[in-house]
Symmetry: C2
């Protein structure tokens, strides 16, 4: 598959990225013949079309996440007023991975704005597994904490499975405990929590009323965090799933069969227009930092999808940024709210 | 999918079934250009071919299961002589499902012949869930028992998940505990036990040296017992998997993409020749009893695969009977042996 990966998808890349960074304009849902009302929110229905569209719908994850977070804030406040419970979400961050630090910072801000209390343990890269396990155990026993998140990836000298297993399943708001994954995989199984990013992908499909049942869905990537649970979720919704990974031959041929494509490869611009079935819905999860001296941060985020080409073929797609990313944190807060409601038996 | 299901695949069905029931002849592995030595056992390599063969290899599950059971018997005996441990496998059977009763009877015979002690609890159909849970608990605590098998399906008034969860994960030789399934689904996860039927399917592919890595594999059926874990196992071996189920549109089109096809639908003769890619390897798991007054039992077992057609297109296939069936019990004994070795720390 590697030979088919591109770091740029056209000569007009900078133009495209400038375009993608505009906040007001291209990313606002456009009217389209296949929409019943507007493109955003439950009020519309987007059927997967068999023909291409010159103007694909942009699935506005940022706006949907905002709505969800507003609803969560209301519920958190109602619960506090009714039974005096303050929600708590604990994060354990080991080492100095920049992307993890950014995610944790954003999560903290989101908690604050929703009225959820943040707890943090920051451990140095060379911490022992026992130190991490001690922190997990402390949060497991802390009644002020309703959700525990061990930020991945962990340093390579630690046994990730061992640490994830140690998180109390009742507080496993990341949904990475194997018991939650097992229940997710099993028909009739009821996971207490579902991993946040794939849950956010499915939530976007629901909010845009995109039909899943009976559709061909292809997931690129089989990570424990996104690809595998995304495939399991799509299957629970009666899609016919295919999972593409690094050993897959002819990935392009397979993605062209997809009515719904979720890409979580982390390979910039891998999914070109030719990879996409006309009218497909494209959910781009994977992103990578690409050096960019013109950006104040010194990098820009580039997604798996070559959007300039995708928008001419697909019927709808998520952008980078403001696509799936904001939904992940919204789902984390939603799982934390659900955990607190369950623990305190609050309806 | 239902509209494409056939209960018979040609006008010469009876001839075909007579043929399929012959023990000496058609089912013996045949020499073939694609085999390095013989068709049976580790000594041969079967490459998935791109062209059809007039004489597909018959994958002799009965013979392979016999070899495995002989090896198990030797190991069981060695362990008994070395440390005095007698292996024990416990079965809980609720109600009077005939197929379950047959399976339990066969399992008991197989245990006897391998030197493994059988424990059985037979409960009436109207037993309470608590009674089943009490039996599970008793076997969990019994040091003579190394594996516990709750025979499925359970009566509909019982919560299957609840009962499967109650089996100690160290004795979950059926591999149905959600923690084992979760570990099976996760990259880097290490299930203590893998469900027996799909494990048997993969073992047959290994024993016939059929390449899995990078191949397109299609699984028909998404049951917790066969389809889902079979797909997870194929993915662990780096196949690119697609899972077909009752809501799948155009299943025939999808199965024609498969280099390896595992069918666990329980729909007699569903997979016709036209469903099969030339040169594919076909593993037929699903079977159904079909009334047959000419058979002393009053029925015959008919598999998902229309063998008369499949053998002209596929490069290899498992028959019914004597295909995957015997492997299931062999894998159950293998899991029980592994459990006892782990519990007693025996190498």
């Amino acid at each position: 598959m590697a030979s088919l990966i591109f770091t740029d998808c056209s000569s007009s890349t900078m133009l495209r990225h400038n375009h993608l960074n505009r906040r007001n304009g291209s990313y606002l849902p456009r009217p389209c013949a296949s929409l019943r009302s507007t493109a955003s929110g439950r009020g519309c229905t987007l059927s997967i079309r068999s023909s291409s569209s010159p103007f694909a719908i942009v699935i506005n994850g940022k706006a949907e996440a905002k709505k969800i977070r507003d609803d969560i804030k209301t519920e958190v406040s109602r619960m506090k007023e009714s039974i005096g419970v303050v929600h708590g979400l604990a994060v354990i961050l080991v080492g100095e991975n920049k992307e993890s630090a950014t995610y944790v910072r954003n999560k903290k801000k989101a908690c604050e704005s929703a009225g959820i209390q943040s707890f943090e343990v920051l451990l140095p890269e060379d911490s022992s597994e026992e130190e991490v396990l001690r922190s997990v155990s402390g949060f497991n026993d802390d009644p002020c904490v309703h959700g525990i998140l061990v930020q991945l990836p962990l340093p390579s000298h630690m046994d990730e499975q061992n640490i994830l297993n140690a998180v109390s399943i009742e507080k496993d708001v990341h949904g990475f405990h194997p018991l939650n994954i097992g229940r997710l995989a099993m028909r009739g199984g009821e996971p207490l929590f579902v991993p946040c990013t794939p849950k956010g992908c499915i939530e976007l499909l629901h909010r845009y009323n995109i039909e899943i049942e009976g559709k061909r869905a292809v997931v690129i990537g089989r990570s424990n965090i996104v690809g595998m649970p995304a495939a399991l979720l799509l299957q629970r919704e009666d899609a016919t799933i295919t999972i593409i990974h690094s050993r897959t031959e002819n990935p392009e041929e397979i993605t062209r069969e997809a009515d719904i494509l979720i890409s979580a490869a982390g390979q910039p611009n891998m999914v070109r227009g030719s990879w996409i079935k006309p009218g497909a819905v494209i959910i781009g999860v994977g992103t990578k930092r690409v050096e960019d001296s013109s950006d104040a941060r010194g990098y820009r985020l580039v997604g798996d999808i070559c959007y300039e080409e995708a928008r001419k073929v697909a019927s709808a797609f998520t952008p980078v940024p403001d696509g799936v990313g904001p939904m992940t944190i919204a789902m984390l807060l939603l799982n934390t709210l659900a955990s607190a409601k369950k623990i305190h038996n609050f309806q």
